[in-house]
Protein backbone atom coordinates (compact mmCIF):
# COMPACT_ATOMS: atom_id res chain seq x y z
CA UNK A 1 0.00 0.00 0.00
CA UNK A 2 1.33 3.41 -0.96
CA UNK A 3 1.66 6.54 1.17
CA UNK A 4 -0.50 8.41 -1.31
CA UNK A 5 -3.40 5.97 -1.42
CA UNK A 6 -6.95 7.09 -0.79
CA UNK A 7 -9.99 4.86 -0.33
CA UNK A 8 -13.03 4.51 -2.57
CA UNK A 9 -15.77 4.31 0.05
CA UNK A 10 -18.73 4.42 -2.30
CA UNK A 11 -19.63 4.52 -5.97
CA UNK A 12 -22.87 5.26 -7.78
CA UNK A 13 -24.18 5.85 -11.27
CA UNK A 14 -27.34 7.05 -12.92
CA UNK A 15 -27.96 4.71 -15.88
CA UNK A 16 -26.70 6.01 -19.25
CA UNK A 17 -29.33 6.74 -21.86
CA UNK A 18 -30.98 9.53 -23.78
CA UNK A 19 -33.27 10.62 -20.99
CA UNK A 20 -33.52 14.29 -21.97
CA UNK A 21 -33.63 15.57 -18.40
CA UNK A 22 -31.47 18.11 -16.58
CA UNK A 23 -27.93 16.85 -15.96
CA UNK A 24 -28.18 17.84 -12.29
CA UNK A 25 -30.77 15.10 -11.74
CA UNK A 26 -28.36 12.43 -12.96
CA UNK A 27 -25.55 13.79 -10.79
CA UNK A 28 -27.70 13.90 -7.68
CA UNK A 29 -29.02 10.37 -8.27
CA UNK A 30 -25.45 9.08 -8.71
CA UNK A 31 -24.28 11.00 -5.62
CA UNK A 32 -27.06 9.58 -3.47
CA UNK A 33 -26.24 6.05 -4.68
CA UNK A 34 -22.55 6.58 -3.90
CA UNK A 35 -23.38 7.92 -0.41
CA UNK A 36 -25.66 4.94 0.27
CA UNK A 37 -22.95 2.60 -1.01
CA UNK A 38 -20.48 4.24 1.39
CA UNK A 39 -22.94 4.09 4.28
CA UNK A 40 -22.59 7.84 4.72
CA UNK A 41 -25.00 10.77 4.77
CA UNK A 42 -24.67 13.92 2.66
CA UNK A 43 -23.98 15.78 5.92
CA UNK A 44 -20.80 13.68 6.39
CA UNK A 45 -19.26 15.10 3.17
CA UNK A 46 -16.68 17.85 3.70
CA UNK A 47 -15.65 18.55 0.14
CA UNK A 48 -17.29 18.31 -3.30
CA UNK A 49 -15.36 18.20 -6.56
CA UNK A 50 -17.51 18.59 -9.68
CA UNK A 51 -16.55 17.60 -13.23
CA UNK A 52 -17.94 20.31 -15.50
CA UNK A 53 -20.18 19.94 -18.53
CA UNK A 54 -19.77 22.75 -21.05
CA UNK A 55 -23.02 22.22 -22.91
CA UNK A 56 -25.55 22.67 -20.14
CA UNK A 57 -25.19 26.36 -19.43
CA UNK A 58 -23.74 28.12 -16.45
CA UNK A 59 -24.70 25.50 -13.81
CA UNK A 60 -22.58 23.04 -15.77
CA UNK A 61 -19.46 25.21 -15.60
CA UNK A 62 -19.65 25.30 -11.81
CA UNK A 63 -20.55 21.67 -11.22
CA UNK A 64 -19.12 21.50 -7.69
CA UNK A 65 -21.43 24.24 -6.47
CA UNK A 66 -24.34 23.10 -8.63
CA UNK A 67 -24.36 19.59 -7.18
CA UNK A 68 -23.79 20.96 -3.66
CA UNK A 69 -26.82 23.22 -3.97
CA UNK A 70 -28.93 20.41 -5.41
CA UNK A 71 -27.99 18.15 -2.51
CA UNK A 72 -28.66 21.07 -0.11
CA UNK A 73 -26.27 23.89 0.85
CA UNK A 74 -24.34 22.84 3.91
CA UNK A 75 -21.22 24.98 3.80
CA UNK A 76 -18.90 22.32 2.35
CA UNK A 77 -15.90 23.41 0.29
CA UNK A 78 -16.15 22.98 -3.48
CA UNK A 79 -14.10 22.81 -6.65
CA UNK A 80 -15.17 22.61 -10.31
CA UNK A 81 -13.00 21.59 -13.20
CA UNK A 82 -13.19 21.09 -16.94
CA UNK A 83 -10.69 18.84 -18.70
CA UNK A 84 -12.71 17.47 -21.63
CA UNK A 85 -12.94 13.66 -21.40
CA UNK A 86 -10.57 13.67 -18.42
CA UNK A 87 -12.77 16.01 -16.35
CA UNK A 88 -13.91 13.26 -14.00
CA UNK A 89 -10.39 12.03 -13.32
CA UNK A 90 -9.16 15.57 -12.67
CA UNK A 91 -12.03 16.16 -10.23
CA UNK A 92 -11.04 12.90 -8.54
CA UNK A 93 -7.44 14.11 -8.40
CA UNK A 94 -8.49 17.42 -6.81
CA UNK A 95 -10.43 15.58 -4.11
CA UNK A 96 -7.49 13.22 -3.55
CA UNK A 97 -5.08 16.13 -3.10
CA UNK A 98 -7.37 17.76 -0.52
CA UNK A 99 -7.53 14.49 1.42
CA UNK A 100 -3.79 13.78 1.23
CA UNK A 101 -2.99 17.36 2.25
CA UNK A 102 -5.11 16.82 5.34
CA UNK A 103 -7.66 19.51 4.51
CA UNK A 104 -10.53 17.03 4.65
CA UNK A 105 -11.17 13.35 5.38
CA UNK A 106 -14.02 12.56 3.04
CA UNK A 107 -15.06 14.04 -0.32
CA UNK A 108 -17.70 13.52 -2.98
CA UNK A 109 -16.78 13.63 -6.68
CA UNK A 110 -19.62 14.02 -9.21
CA UNK A 111 -19.89 14.31 -12.98
CA UNK A 112 -23.01 14.30 -15.16
CA UNK A 113 -24.05 15.33 -18.65
CA UNK A 114 -27.04 15.80 -20.91
CA UNK A 115 -26.12 15.52 -24.58
CA UNK A 116 -27.68 16.56 -27.86
CA UNK A 117 -28.37 14.10 -30.68
CA UNK A 118 -25.72 13.34 -33.30
CA UNK A 119 -22.19 14.71 -33.73
CA UNK A 120 -20.73 16.72 -30.91
CA UNK A 121 -20.69 20.32 -32.13
CA UNK A 122 -18.51 23.19 -30.91
CA UNK A 123 -19.86 25.93 -28.66
CA UNK A 124 -22.15 28.17 -30.78
CA UNK A 125 -21.70 31.68 -32.17
CA UNK A 126 -19.12 33.10 -34.56
CA UNK A 127 -15.80 32.23 -32.93
CA UNK A 128 -12.96 31.99 -35.49
CA UNK A 129 -10.32 32.16 -32.70
CA UNK A 130 -11.38 28.73 -31.38
CA UNK A 131 -9.79 25.77 -33.21
CA UNK A 132 -12.73 23.61 -32.13
CA UNK A 133 -15.07 25.97 -34.02
CA UNK A 134 -12.71 26.50 -36.96
CA UNK A 135 -12.15 22.82 -37.71
CA UNK A 136 -15.86 22.46 -38.45
CA UNK A 137 -15.93 25.61 -40.61
CA UNK A 138 -12.70 25.16 -42.58
CA UNK A 139 -12.41 21.37 -42.80
CA UNK A 140 -15.72 19.83 -41.79
CA UNK A 141 -13.63 17.72 -39.41
CA UNK A 142 -15.86 16.05 -36.81
CA UNK A 143 -14.67 13.88 -33.92
CA UNK A 144 -15.14 10.70 -36.01
CA UNK A 145 -12.78 12.26 -38.60
CA UNK A 146 -9.93 11.97 -36.11
CA UNK A 147 -11.01 8.51 -34.88
CA UNK A 148 -11.02 7.36 -38.49
CA UNK A 149 -7.52 8.75 -39.17
CA UNK A 150 -6.19 6.61 -36.31
CA UNK A 151 -8.16 3.57 -37.48
CA UNK A 152 -6.86 3.88 -41.03
CA UNK A 153 -3.33 4.33 -39.71
CA UNK A 154 -3.65 0.93 -37.94
CA UNK A 155 -4.78 -0.65 -41.19
CA UNK A 156 -1.91 0.89 -43.15
CA UNK A 157 0.79 0.13 -40.58
CA UNK A 158 -0.28 -3.09 -38.91
CA UNK A 159 -2.71 -4.73 -41.29
CA UNK A 160 -5.74 -4.20 -39.05
CA UNK A 161 -9.01 -5.10 -40.75
CA UNK A 162 -12.57 -3.88 -40.44
CA UNK A 163 -13.36 -7.30 -38.97
CA UNK A 164 -10.89 -6.60 -36.15
CA UNK A 165 -12.61 -3.31 -35.39
CA UNK A 166 -16.05 -4.94 -35.54
CA UNK A 167 -14.86 -7.67 -33.18
CA UNK A 168 -14.19 -5.02 -30.51
CA UNK A 169 -17.83 -3.88 -30.75
CA UNK A 170 -19.05 -7.48 -30.60
CA UNK A 171 -16.98 -8.09 -27.45
CA UNK A 172 -18.04 -4.90 -25.69
CA UNK A 173 -21.71 -5.34 -26.59
CA UNK A 174 -21.55 -8.81 -25.03
CA UNK A 175 -19.83 -7.44 -21.91
CA UNK A 176 -22.48 -4.75 -21.51
CA UNK A 177 -25.44 -7.14 -21.70
CA UNK A 178 -25.63 -7.65 -17.94
CA UNK A 179 -24.65 -4.13 -16.89
CA UNK A 180 -27.70 -2.33 -15.46
CA UNK A 181 -26.11 1.09 -16.11
CA UNK A 182 -25.34 0.45 -19.79
CA UNK A 183 -27.48 2.22 -22.41
CA UNK A 184 -27.25 -0.51 -25.05
CA UNK A 185 -27.78 -4.09 -23.88
CA UNK A 186 -28.02 -6.00 -27.11
CA UNK A 187 -25.63 -8.42 -28.81
CA UNK A 188 -24.36 -7.46 -32.24
CA UNK A 189 -22.56 -9.50 -34.88
CA UNK A 190 -19.49 -8.67 -36.93
CA UNK A 191 -21.74 -8.57 -40.00
CA UNK A 192 -24.10 -6.05 -38.37
CA UNK A 193 -21.20 -3.74 -37.51
CA UNK A 194 -19.69 -4.01 -40.96
CA UNK A 195 -22.98 -3.46 -42.78
CA UNK A 196 -23.91 -0.39 -40.72
CA UNK A 197 -23.52 2.89 -42.66
CA UNK A 198 -20.03 4.33 -43.10
CA UNK A 199 -19.63 7.52 -41.06
CA UNK A 200 -15.93 8.18 -41.60
CA UNK A 201 -14.17 5.49 -43.59
CA UNK A 202 -13.10 2.91 -42.38
CA UNK A 203 -15.42 3.40 -39.41
CA UNK A 204 -19.06 2.40 -39.54
CA UNK A 205 -21.85 3.75 -37.37
CA UNK A 206 -21.52 0.82 -34.95
CA UNK A 207 -17.74 1.37 -34.65
CA UNK A 208 -18.32 4.81 -33.13
CA UNK A 209 -19.68 5.47 -29.66
CA UNK A 210 -22.91 7.40 -29.18
CA UNK A 211 -23.35 10.51 -27.05
CA UNK A 212 -25.33 9.83 -23.89
CA UNK A 213 -26.89 11.29 -20.78
CA UNK A 214 -25.56 9.88 -17.52
CA UNK A 215 -24.05 10.58 -14.13
CA UNK A 216 -21.40 9.01 -11.91
CA UNK A 217 -20.21 9.74 -8.40
CA UNK A 218 -17.50 8.53 -6.03
CA UNK A 219 -17.08 8.97 -2.29
CA UNK A 220 -13.38 9.26 -1.58
CA UNK A 221 -11.71 9.26 1.85
CA UNK A 222 -8.41 9.00 3.64
CA UNK A 223 -7.29 5.42 4.43
CA UNK A 224 -7.62 6.31 8.14
CA UNK A 225 -11.21 7.42 7.72
CA UNK A 226 -11.97 4.35 5.63
CA UNK A 227 -10.68 2.03 8.38
CA UNK A 228 -13.38 3.37 10.70
CA UNK A 229 -16.12 2.63 8.18
CA UNK A 230 -15.16 -0.52 6.32
CA UNK A 231 -12.60 -3.29 6.04
CA UNK A 232 -10.28 -3.76 3.10
CA UNK A 233 -11.59 -0.94 0.91
CA UNK A 234 -10.73 -0.56 -2.75
CA UNK A 235 -8.07 2.14 -3.02
CA UNK A 236 -6.87 4.60 -5.62
CA UNK A 237 -3.18 3.84 -6.20
CA UNK A 238 -2.54 6.43 -8.90
CA UNK A 239 -4.18 9.22 -10.89
CA UNK A 240 -2.34 10.46 -13.96
CA UNK A 241 -3.45 13.62 -15.73
CA UNK A 242 -0.31 14.42 -17.75
CA UNK A 243 -0.18 16.67 -20.80
CA UNK A 244 1.66 15.78 -24.01
CA UNK A 245 5.37 16.54 -24.25
CA UNK A 246 6.64 18.79 -27.07
CA UNK A 247 6.72 17.96 -29.89
CA UNK A 248 3.39 16.13 -29.96
CA UNK A 249 3.61 14.52 -33.40
CA UNK A 250 0.21 12.79 -33.53
CA UNK A 251 -2.63 14.97 -34.77
CA UNK A 252 -5.19 15.43 -31.99
CA UNK A 253 -8.71 16.80 -31.78
CA UNK A 254 -9.48 19.63 -32.43
CA UNK A 255 -6.20 20.67 -34.05
CA UNK A 256 -5.36 21.43 -37.68
CA UNK A 257 -1.81 20.22 -37.31
CA UNK A 258 0.79 18.65 -35.08
CA UNK A 259 3.75 20.28 -33.40
CA UNK A 260 6.88 20.50 -35.54
CA UNK A 261 9.58 17.89 -34.94
CA UNK A 262 12.07 19.78 -37.13
CA UNK A 263 14.17 21.20 -34.29
CA UNK A 264 13.38 18.99 -31.27
CA UNK A 265 13.12 15.20 -31.57
CA UNK A 266 9.79 13.62 -30.53
CA UNK A 267 9.71 12.31 -26.93
CA UNK A 268 10.60 8.67 -26.38
CA UNK A 269 7.16 8.03 -24.95
CA UNK A 270 4.24 9.40 -26.97
CA UNK A 271 1.28 11.12 -25.33
CA UNK A 272 -1.13 8.22 -24.97
CA UNK A 273 1.62 5.91 -23.72
CA UNK A 274 2.69 8.61 -21.26
CA UNK A 275 -0.79 8.86 -19.73
CA UNK A 276 -0.64 5.24 -18.51
CA UNK A 277 3.11 5.32 -17.91
CA UNK A 278 2.75 8.12 -15.34
CA UNK A 279 0.04 6.14 -13.55
CA UNK A 280 2.18 2.98 -13.41
CA UNK A 281 5.14 4.99 -12.05
CA UNK A 282 2.99 6.58 -9.38
CA UNK A 283 1.50 3.24 -8.28
CA UNK A 284 4.77 1.31 -8.49
CA UNK A 285 2.98 -1.20 -10.70
CA UNK A 286 3.18 -2.28 -14.32
CA UNK A 287 1.01 -3.82 -17.02
CA UNK A 288 1.99 -7.30 -15.76
CA UNK A 289 0.16 -6.56 -12.48
CA UNK A 290 -3.19 -5.83 -14.15
CA UNK A 291 -6.28 -8.02 -13.95
CA UNK A 292 -8.44 -5.78 -16.12
CA UNK A 293 -8.70 -2.40 -17.82
CA UNK A 294 -11.38 0.14 -18.73
CA UNK A 295 -10.23 2.15 -21.73
CA UNK A 296 -11.82 4.91 -23.80
CA UNK A 297 -13.30 3.18 -26.85
CA UNK A 298 -14.61 6.31 -28.58
CA UNK A 299 -14.21 4.03 -31.57
CA UNK A 300 -13.58 0.32 -31.82
CA UNK A 301 -10.17 0.94 -33.40
CA UNK A 302 -9.15 3.26 -30.57
CA UNK A 303 -9.60 0.40 -28.11
CA UNK A 304 -6.90 -1.46 -30.04
CA UNK A 305 -4.59 1.59 -29.75
CA UNK A 306 -5.13 1.57 -25.98
CA UNK A 307 -4.02 -2.10 -25.67
CA UNK A 308 -0.62 -0.86 -26.79
CA UNK A 309 -0.73 2.47 -24.94
CA UNK A 310 -1.35 0.78 -21.56
CA UNK A 311 1.28 -1.86 -22.26
CA UNK A 312 -0.83 -4.99 -22.77
CA UNK A 313 1.19 -5.74 -25.91
CA UNK A 314 3.79 -4.20 -28.20
CA UNK A 315 2.89 -1.70 -30.92
CA UNK A 316 1.20 -3.44 -33.83
CA UNK A 317 0.13 -6.49 -31.81
CA UNK A 318 -3.29 -5.38 -30.58
CA UNK A 319 -5.15 -7.14 -33.39
CA UNK A 320 -3.77 -10.43 -32.15
CA UNK A 321 -5.23 -9.81 -28.67
CA UNK A 322 -8.75 -9.20 -29.96
CA UNK A 323 -8.51 -12.12 -32.44
CA UNK A 324 -7.37 -14.50 -29.67
CA UNK A 325 -10.04 -13.39 -27.21
CA UNK A 326 -7.43 -12.23 -24.69
CA UNK A 327 -9.41 -9.10 -23.82
CA UNK A 328 -12.79 -10.81 -23.41
CA UNK A 329 -14.06 -11.54 -19.88
CA UNK A 330 -12.58 -14.96 -19.16
CA UNK A 331 -9.51 -14.17 -21.26
CA UNK A 332 -5.99 -13.23 -20.20
CA UNK A 333 -6.62 -9.53 -19.58
CA UNK A 334 -10.26 -8.43 -19.97
CA UNK A 335 -10.74 -4.91 -21.36
CA UNK A 336 -13.95 -2.94 -20.89
CA UNK A 337 -15.90 -5.58 -18.93
CA UNK A 338 -18.46 -2.80 -18.29
CA UNK A 339 -19.28 -2.83 -22.00
CA UNK A 340 -17.22 0.34 -22.52
CA UNK A 341 -18.34 3.36 -24.47
CA UNK A 342 -19.70 0.92 -27.07
CA UNK A 343 -22.44 -0.01 -24.59
CA UNK A 344 -22.67 3.30 -22.74
CA UNK A 345 -22.10 6.11 -25.21
CA UNK A 346 -20.17 9.07 -23.92
CA UNK A 347 -21.37 11.36 -21.12
CA UNK A 348 -18.16 13.37 -21.02
CA UNK A 349 -17.74 14.65 -17.43
CA UNK A 350 -19.14 11.41 -16.00
CA UNK A 351 -17.20 8.97 -18.15
CA UNK A 352 -13.80 8.88 -16.41
CA UNK A 353 -15.65 8.46 -13.09
CA UNK A 354 -17.79 5.68 -14.55
CA UNK A 355 -14.58 3.84 -15.45
CA UNK A 356 -13.49 4.00 -11.79
CA UNK A 357 -16.96 2.89 -10.62
CA UNK A 358 -16.65 -0.22 -12.81
CA UNK A 359 -13.18 -1.06 -11.49
CA UNK A 360 -14.49 -0.65 -7.94
CA UNK A 361 -17.38 -3.05 -8.51
CA UNK A 362 -15.01 -5.49 -10.22
CA UNK A 363 -12.47 -5.40 -7.38
CA UNK A 364 -15.23 -5.91 -4.82
CA UNK A 365 -16.59 -8.88 -6.79
CA UNK A 366 -19.92 -7.10 -7.38
CA UNK A 367 -19.89 -6.95 -11.19
CA UNK A 368 -22.72 -9.42 -11.69
CA UNK A 369 -22.78 -11.05 -15.11
CA UNK A 370 -19.46 -9.50 -16.20
CA UNK A 371 -17.19 -10.27 -13.24
CA UNK A 372 -13.46 -10.69 -13.86
CA UNK A 373 -12.58 -13.47 -11.45
CA UNK A 374 -10.17 -12.51 -8.68
CA UNK A 375 -9.71 -8.94 -9.95
CA UNK A 376 -7.30 -7.08 -7.66
CA UNK A 377 -5.67 -4.41 -9.85
CA UNK A 378 -7.26 -2.42 -12.67
CA UNK A 379 -6.41 0.59 -14.78
CA UNK A 380 -8.50 3.18 -16.60
CA UNK A 381 -7.33 5.23 -19.54
CA UNK A 382 -8.92 8.04 -21.46
CA UNK A 383 -8.12 10.96 -23.71
CA UNK A 384 -9.98 13.95 -25.02
CA UNK A 385 -9.70 17.36 -26.62
CA UNK A 386 -6.91 19.88 -26.09
CA UNK A 387 -4.22 17.60 -24.69
CA UNK A 388 -6.26 16.11 -21.88
CA UNK A 389 -5.96 12.53 -20.78
CA UNK A 390 -6.17 10.49 -17.62
CA UNK A 391 -5.38 7.14 -16.15
CA UNK A 392 -6.44 5.85 -12.75
CA UNK A 393 -5.11 2.71 -11.09
CA UNK A 394 -7.44 1.05 -8.61
CA UNK A 395 -6.19 -1.75 -6.36
CA UNK A 396 -7.34 -3.89 -3.54
Amino acid sequence: MGAHDVAVLGVGMHPWGKWGRNFVEYGVAAANDALADAGLAWSDIEYVAGADTIRNGYPGFIAGATFSQALGWQGNRVASCYAACASGAQALNIARAQILAGFCDVALVVGADTTPKGFFAPVGGDRPDDPDWLRFRLLGATNPTYFALYARRRMELYGATRQDFAQVKVKNARHGLANPNARYRKEVTVEEVMSSPTVADPLRLLDICATSDGGAAIVLSSMEYAKRHTTNPVRIAAISTVTPTFPQTVIEMPNFSTDSSATVAPPEIGFKDAIAHAAYEEAGLGPEDLDLAEVYDLSTALELDWYENIGLCKQGEAERLIRDGDTTVGGRIPVNPSGGLASFGEAIPAQALAQVCELTWQLRGQATGRQVEGAAVGITANQGLFGHGSSVIVAR
Binding site: A121, L139, R153, A200, I251, S260, A262
Partner: protein, 144 residues
Protein backbone atom coordinates in the same frame (compact mmCIF):
# COMPACT_ATOMS: atom_id res chain seq x y z
CA UNK B 1 -21.55 38.80 -62.09
CA UNK B 2 -18.21 37.42 -61.02
CA UNK B 3 -17.92 36.72 -57.32
CA UNK B 4 -15.03 38.11 -55.32
CA UNK B 5 -12.64 35.44 -54.12
CA UNK B 6 -11.63 35.81 -50.48
CA UNK B 7 -9.80 33.46 -48.11
CA UNK B 8 -12.18 31.76 -45.65
CA UNK B 9 -9.65 32.75 -43.00
CA UNK B 10 -7.18 35.62 -43.21
CA UNK B 11 -3.45 34.99 -43.14
CA UNK B 12 -3.36 31.18 -43.12
CA UNK B 13 -2.36 30.68 -46.77
CA UNK B 14 -1.42 32.48 -49.96
CA UNK B 15 -3.70 32.30 -52.98
CA UNK B 16 -0.99 32.42 -55.66
CA UNK B 17 -2.64 30.71 -58.66
CA UNK B 18 0.55 28.81 -59.57
CA UNK B 19 2.17 28.04 -56.23
CA UNK B 20 -0.16 28.58 -53.28
CA UNK B 21 1.26 27.77 -49.85
CA UNK B 22 0.26 27.55 -46.22
CA UNK B 23 1.58 30.46 -44.16
CA UNK B 24 3.23 29.45 -40.92
CA UNK B 25 5.95 30.83 -38.72
CA UNK B 26 9.53 29.95 -37.88
CA UNK B 27 10.70 30.88 -34.39
CA UNK B 28 13.57 33.39 -34.43
CA UNK B 29 14.98 31.75 -31.29
CA UNK B 30 14.94 28.00 -31.96
CA UNK B 31 13.72 27.56 -35.54
CA UNK B 32 10.56 25.67 -34.61
CA UNK B 33 7.87 25.86 -37.29
CA UNK B 34 4.24 26.43 -36.44
CA UNK B 35 0.98 26.18 -38.33
CA UNK B 36 -1.31 27.96 -37.67
CA UNK B 37 1.15 30.77 -36.97
CA UNK B 38 2.72 31.40 -33.58
CA UNK B 39 2.35 35.00 -32.41
CA UNK B 40 3.01 35.31 -28.69
CA UNK B 41 4.93 32.23 -27.55
CA UNK B 42 6.94 29.34 -28.96
CA UNK B 43 5.63 25.77 -28.59
CA UNK B 44 9.13 24.59 -27.65
CA UNK B 45 9.21 24.63 -23.83
CA UNK B 46 12.96 25.33 -23.87
CA UNK B 47 12.57 28.46 -26.02
CA UNK B 48 11.68 31.85 -24.51
CA UNK B 49 11.42 33.62 -27.88
CA UNK B 50 8.40 35.79 -28.64
CA UNK B 51 9.29 36.73 -32.21
CA UNK B 52 8.51 34.70 -35.30
CA UNK B 53 9.17 35.05 -39.01
CA UNK B 54 6.31 34.37 -41.39
CA UNK B 55 7.26 31.57 -43.77
CA UNK B 56 5.60 29.72 -46.62
CA UNK B 57 5.48 26.03 -45.69
CA UNK B 58 6.30 23.14 -48.00
CA UNK B 59 3.71 22.82 -50.75
CA UNK B 60 4.15 19.07 -50.91
CA UNK B 61 4.00 16.19 -48.50
CA UNK B 62 2.94 12.59 -48.02
CA UNK B 63 -0.28 11.18 -46.61
CA UNK B 64 -0.04 10.12 -42.93
CA UNK B 65 -3.62 8.89 -42.83
CA UNK B 66 -6.96 9.62 -44.47
CA UNK B 67 -10.72 9.29 -44.17
CA UNK B 68 -13.94 10.77 -45.50
CA UNK B 69 -17.04 12.43 -44.16
CA UNK B 70 -20.26 10.68 -45.16
CA UNK B 71 -22.68 12.73 -43.05
CA UNK B 72 -23.10 16.49 -42.95
CA UNK B 73 -21.29 17.96 -39.93
CA UNK B 74 -23.14 20.40 -37.66
CA UNK B 75 -22.63 24.19 -37.99
CA UNK B 76 -20.40 26.09 -38.39
CA UNK B 77 -19.76 23.67 -41.29
CA UNK B 78 -21.19 25.10 -44.51
CA UNK B 79 -21.85 22.84 -47.48
CA UNK B 80 -20.21 24.22 -50.67
CA UNK B 81 -23.23 23.64 -52.87
CA UNK B 82 -26.03 23.78 -50.33
CA UNK B 83 -26.61 20.08 -50.83
CA UNK B 84 -24.31 17.87 -48.76
CA UNK B 85 -21.82 15.77 -50.65
CA UNK B 86 -19.31 13.49 -48.94
CA UNK B 87 -15.70 14.69 -49.00
CA UNK B 88 -12.31 13.13 -48.37
CA UNK B 89 -9.79 14.32 -45.77
CA UNK B 90 -6.11 13.57 -45.25
CA UNK B 91 -3.50 14.28 -42.61
CA UNK B 92 -0.34 15.11 -44.54
CA UNK B 93 3.28 15.15 -43.37
CA UNK B 94 4.84 18.27 -44.88
CA UNK B 95 8.08 17.67 -46.76
CA UNK B 96 10.42 19.74 -44.59
CA UNK B 97 8.83 21.07 -41.41
CA UNK B 98 8.09 17.91 -39.39
CA UNK B 99 4.42 18.97 -39.21
CA UNK B 100 1.29 17.02 -40.12
CA UNK B 101 -1.51 19.21 -41.53
CA UNK B 102 -5.12 18.18 -42.00
CA UNK B 103 -7.05 19.18 -45.10
CA UNK B 104 -9.80 18.12 -47.48
CA UNK B 105 -8.87 16.52 -50.79
CA UNK B 106 -9.59 18.57 -53.89
CA UNK B 107 -11.80 17.26 -56.67
CA UNK B 108 -13.18 13.75 -56.80
CA UNK B 109 -10.39 12.02 -54.88
CA UNK B 110 -11.81 9.24 -52.69
CA UNK B 111 -10.26 7.09 -49.98
CA UNK B 112 -9.69 4.42 -52.64
CA UNK B 113 -7.15 6.74 -54.30
CA UNK B 114 -5.05 7.16 -51.15
CA UNK B 115 -2.56 5.20 -49.05
CA UNK B 116 -0.10 6.07 -46.30
CA UNK B 117 2.78 7.70 -48.17
CA UNK B 118 0.80 8.96 -51.18
CA UNK B 119 2.48 12.19 -52.43
CA UNK B 120 0.21 15.23 -52.46
CA UNK B 121 0.49 18.95 -53.13
CA UNK B 122 -1.33 21.99 -51.85
CA UNK B 123 -4.03 23.69 -53.93
CA UNK B 124 -6.55 26.43 -53.22
CA UNK B 125 -10.20 25.57 -53.73
CA UNK B 126 -13.67 26.86 -52.92
CA UNK B 127 -14.92 26.07 -49.43
CA UNK B 128 -18.37 27.67 -49.85
CA UNK B 129 -20.02 30.66 -51.54
CA UNK B 130 -22.54 33.35 -50.78
CA UNK B 131 -24.18 35.90 -53.13
CA UNK B 132 -21.07 38.08 -53.47
CA UNK B 133 -18.11 35.96 -52.39
CA UNK B 134 -16.36 32.72 -53.05
CA UNK B 135 -14.58 31.67 -49.86
CA UNK B 136 -11.28 29.85 -50.39
CA UNK B 137 -9.46 27.23 -48.37
CA UNK B 138 -6.40 24.99 -48.78
CA UNK B 139 -6.88 21.43 -49.98
CA UNK B 140 -4.62 18.52 -50.87
CA UNK B 141 -4.35 17.11 -54.36
CA UNK B 142 -2.73 13.81 -55.31
CA UNK B 143 0.42 14.38 -57.38
CA UNK B 144 0.04 12.66 -60.75
Amino acid sequence: MTKTQVPAIEGWFTTDPERPALLGTRCTGCGTYAFPRASAFCANPACPSTTFDEVELSRTGTVWSFTNSCYEPPPPYISPTGEFEPYTLAAVELANEGIVVLGQLAGDTTVDDLAAGTPVELVIDTLYEDDEHEYLVWKWKVVD
